[in-house]
């Protein structure tokens, strides 16, 4: 690029640099998404268990998410918290909201004290749904992020 780029050259330079950032964010994203989804699944599943396991499940899950975020930030050299850009933020909020009924269902399941095999089956089903929701939400977030940062794909 020249020292005094034309508007078109400048816009292209911006697009390329945003693409460099986006490539970093997407690097190893499957591994991150799978870990993130497994943590969510464990948090939801633990809500169908008695105290103090359910409380520890939430606290441990939040701690694990924080550590995962920190490790990824250090590894990639970029920090993205999910709440920007604007449309991607709504995907993150939607994912959080989608988890609430699952958490409630897990609490109700434990409250009703069903037979052990039904209880275990319920925990497995809710954890699986939470895992799928988190994985789909995470992939969707990346897609929206790419579109919003102007790098498409």
């Amino acid at each position: 690029m020249t020292e005094n780029p034309t508007p078109a050259e400048a816009l292209e330079a911006i697009r390329q640099s945003r693409k460099a950032a986006e490539r970093r964010v997407a690097r190893g994203s499957w591994r991150y998404d799978l870990t993130y989804s497994a943590i969510f699944a464990a948090m939801i599943g633990s809500q169908a268990l008695d105290m103090p396991i359910n409380s520890l499940g939430v606290a441990g899950g939040l701690l694990a998410l924080a550590l995962l975020y920190r490790r990824e930030t250090e590894r990639l050299g970029v920090a993205v918290n999910g709440m920007t850009p604007r449309r991607a933020r709504w995907v993150a909020i939607g994912l959080g909201l989608a988890m609430l009924p699952l958490m409630l269902a897990a609490i109700v399941l434990n409250y009703r004290e069903p037979p052990l095999h039904i209880h275990l089956l319920g925990i497995a089903a809710l954890s699986l749904v939470a895992f799928v929701f988190a994985l789909v939400g995470s992939r969707l977030w990346l897609r929206v992020y790419r579109r919003e940062t102007g790098t498409g794909e």
């Binding site: 816009l11 911006i14 640099s17 050299g77």
Partner: protein
């Protein structure tokens, strides 16, 4: 939406790229930006100093595994100025791309 405004502090090639990267993330690490825009440490430091003096970026030092890393983010003023600059570039690029006034026929 930001009003379009050309910003000479941002328009220099290196700083344009730095702002481009920072506009896509919350924070970026010094080495990541240096590698992405292919400049030396000293050149990047100069660009960052100019952006910091203009109030456009914030620098944060963090120790990690016994070494210090610098994290850079766009300040709110920088985010606004960059959005306005991109809007102006888009407007100018549109003008350059659109056909000029008809010539050769004056009625």
């Amino acid at each position: 939406m930001s009003a379009a405004a050309f910003d000479p502090v941002i328009h220099a090639p290196g700083r344009l790229q730095i702002c481009g990267i920072l506009s896509a993330v919350e924070e970026a690490e010094f080495a990541m930006i240096r590698d992405a825009i292919a400049v030396s440490d000293s050149v990047l430091s100069k660009h960052l100093k100019q952006l910091e003096d203009a109030g456009y970026v914030k620098l944060r030092k963090q120790s990690h595994d016994g070494r210090q890393r610098t994290w850079i983010s766009l300040a709110p003023a920088g985010r606004r100025a960059f959005a306005a600059h991109v809007a102006e570039l888009t407007r100018l690029a549109g003008l350059a791309a659109s056909p000029g006034p008809a010539s050769g026929f004056v009625g």
